[in-house]
Symmetry: none
Subunit: 134 residues, 2 copies
Amino acid sequence: MDDRLRRSMPLFSMGIVQNLTGLTARQIRYYEENALIEPERTEGNRRVFSFNDVEKLLDIKSLLDEGVNLAGIKHVLSSKPVESNQPLNAVKQKKSDLSDADLMKYLKRELINAGKFGDQARIQGEFSRFFNQK
Amino acid sequence: MDDRLRRSMPLFSMGIVQNLTGLTARQIRYYEENALIEPERTEGNRRVFSFNDVEKLLDIKSLLDEGVNLAGIKHVLSSKPVESNQPLNAVKQKKSDLSDADLMKYLKRELINAGKFGDQARIQGEFSRFFNQK
DNA sequence: TTTTTCTGTAAGAAAAACTAACATAGATTG
DNA sequence: CAATCTATGTTAGTTTTTCTTACAGAAAAA
């Protein structure tokens, strides 16, 4: 639960994600169009990506490099060890009587265990993916 | 080292940081103006904040809540990495341009918060700092 | 060959972010 | 007390970033 929330928290803007992944905006939007990712939106309709999204984009990238097409990638991703494919909205639904502010507090509280990020045990996790790009 | 890179990596746009910290853009810019943080810039001059920046902003926020002024906060932040090991004299030396009152506030705060900041945060890493705010 | 897939590019619009300037309540200082 | 300083709000005008939509084309698939 903690993990799912943390990973689906909207954090990164389009520009950042382009830098992080090396993908173009066009590609990223196309993958969204094909339901491979579901970034949140700001009030003004700007995309905001989560760890989950970025991680998926990196997966997509490397699978594309291997010659897998989008249809194949979609299958690979959907059969991936769950963690969380759920966008924040799904969580929001469950807590439907919470205001956004309350949800924020809730998230922050729930994310106490985010220290896992630094753990050796999670060396395959998203952080190493972000920062050990080759 | 790897850690330092990660923590100083530019990741977050202004809007995200406002959400993450609850501070206004005006405040954030003002703190930068006063050299409390040094976010990177995009080619187009937009700020891009690191984990470090966000963490500092959260520190600033909670110190402000405690009544410490920016001058005091500046000193607290600059001495933070070694806060618990630093002998009083060294602190006093470093803070020679602080008024006695400010120094008093600073010291009091250090005592009161001896455990709040450092320990848990140091163990769990920056993420818990982000999301464990109250 | 024809169609589909994936990405590029361009145009126009809107959001987000920037700087600079002025305003001000609450502290601090003389 | 008056003057100044601090920290933040607000507004205006500008620039950057992002958005959608549409058209184009190479490569792969049918």
